[in-house]
Symmetry: C2
Subunit: 355 residues, 2 copies
């Protein structure tokens, strides 16, 4: 897109969990806080948002709100994206959309900067770029190095997903249920409609005729699009666990050509945005609380799967911050890619807040 | 074993989480509460145990304690089992051991009554019978019907394991951490050494040279022994989640011969000790809080895995009470099998407490 020293941003969904992270990331990465416009539904208009190094007031989204905006981050759900993305584009903005509304549109790039930056090479804007599903981003950060080295024949993914994927309200309800338990009160279930503390449940997105829920289907089809390769065979089981903001995934892999375990470890460990946490003696492996607040996806439990031919089968376990690399950080890295001012690999090696 | 109308039992580890369930199950299933002797380490000797329909006092275990005992349930860890099982057998008892101490001993039957009751056919006692690992029992309850119908080529298992697998102390600490959170106190970590609430961590059993932890290795080798078939290829990732007493497992299957999805569902649904919970429209699937306190293993999310050849690949998700079918109930069912007074399939169809 046209070079600018002082890009102007808008955040639609500024009061949500991802919106808050977007503000912190833009400010923390040195963008001009005065050039970040906060947008939300009329219900939230007028709210003041105060974050470290940032103060702003939320404006109600309308067609004029995108005037003079270079990049508009959308993080307010698919319906809002479908309603307002055309207006933002008409006003000249590039929309980086965190919803699933446009991800499978053949005209819309679906981008993880470390993996397929070429999908937006020479981007002139305005237009829409889609940010992938959180579970998909985290899985592909860990696994793409092996695809590049050996090819991937098949992936079996089981997720352990945090509350944050459903937004700030579910995170708050999970915390409230811990207080309910301590006080001996009935569960507060306004958001989830269920006991979530001390429980695990199948991801509550709609289940399609093939028996997969939407989260599972996204993982398959978004991976195919990002890798531009629909020959990789994928199956997933997506599950919500009572964790606040970082997802885990157990991934079983079948490679196309054999790789020794040391080479698997080297390939993953040398990839940008990934950190190996795999100390078998100390029993230190990826955990949500180690990944929360960190840019890197933590990968561990890397081991040969002896149920497959030697060198072909591997198991691993990852943890990654759903709000950062799974959402806001990836979106900001896409913006940096468009603005030409950043190397996603280097930027991602930093930690954006204390873990 | 010799028929007796009024078998005499001992429970070694009577004050633990599994010990309490053993008492409740024996009383609830009509055995004579006066003929249940409670044993534990000298530290717990003298403690009074009061359960519905039962009052007893704990005796310190010693060589005399097994005199006149027909069946001794051991649930106090591998070290205690290795120390006291020989004395119990010498005193004429049959030991049903919940630890892993003797499971892989070729002379010791490893039994799930619904699956391999023939392993104790004609059992005369005294001797040792091993109760399998909880994750193994729950997986095989769901999957054995498909092995019988079509054969199983390969299983990829990811677990979501509750605190109860590590005992009553970890369950109490998880609850305490919820109270710590509500009060704004530092985490109580005496048992786990970590933040467990709002977190997920790799099963903390020792990791072997092949990178598998003990829990994962047990699932592979115990399955081979119970099925008497080491050609089935198995890989597992075992993970602890902040749940109190029921485990979940995501299982991806490769069958040896194709089966239509309806036949898969029929085979699982008609097996004793299993209940299908799989309402795609209502989004009702197995959850730990639905399985807690129930005898049956709940199985759902049954669906064709389109990453494999048609009819060969299936995914499913289960939840089962780790303390009941994963431990105490299976042990009591073994006892009933030896005593000849019970059909495990019918007994298991009942619920032992309100869910």
């Amino acid at each position: 897109m046209p070079p600018t020293d002082t890009p102007r941003f808008a955040i639609l969904g500024a009061t949500g969990a991802v919106g808050r992270e977007l503000i912190d990331l833009l400010v923390g990465r040195g963008f001009d806080a005065d050039r970040v416009r906060l947008l939300a539904s009329p219900r939230s208009a007028g709210l003041e948002v105060s974050r470290p190094g940032f103060r702003g007031r939320v404006e109600a989204v309308n067609a004029d709100a995108f005037r003079d905006v270079d990049i508009a981050f959308f993080s307010a759900g698919g319906g809002v994206s479908r309603e307002w993305a055309p207006a933002a584009v008409a006003a000249g903005a590039t929309v980086i959309d965190n919803s699933s509304a446009f991800r499978m549109d053949p005209a819309v790039p679906l981008v993880i900067p470390e993996i397929n930056p070429h999908a937006v090479a020479g981007w002139a804007g305005p237009g829409i770029i889609a940010n992938p599903n959180c579970s998909t981003i985290l899985a592909l950060m860990a696994v793409t190095p092996l695809k590049r080295s050996a090819g991937i024949e098949r992936m079996v993914v089981s997720t352990y997903q945090a509350a944050s994927g459903a937004g700030a309200a579910l995170m708050a309800e999970l915390e409230q249920q811990a207080r309910d338990f301590a006080a001996g009160h009935p569960w507060t279930t306004d958001v989830s409609g269920r006991q979530y503390l001390f429980n695990v449940f199948s991801h509550d997105s709609p289940v399609g005729p093939d028996g997969s829920n939407e989260e599972e289907s996204k993982l398959v089809r978004e991976t195919h699009k990002i890798w531009d390769d629909d020959t990789v065979r994928i199956t997933a089981t997506c599950v919500r666990v009572p964790v606040l903001r970082a997802h885990c995934e157990a991934i079983n892999l079948t490679l196309r050509s054999p790789m020794p375990e040391a080479a698997v470890r080297d390939a993953i460990g040398s990839a940008g945005g990934v950190q190996i946490v795999d100390d078998r003696e100390a029993g230190r492996f990826p955990e949500p609380i180690l990944a929360a607040g960190r840019s890197d996806v933590l990968v561990g439990r890397i081991r040969a799967d002896r149920s497959q031919a030697p060198g072909i089968g591997y198991d691993l376990f990852l943890a990654g911050d759903q709000l950062l690399k799974g959402a806001a950080l990836n979106a900001v890295q896409i913006a940096e890619l468009l603005l030409g001012g950043s190397d996603a690999t280097a930027a991602n090696a930093e930690t954006t807040r204390d873990a």
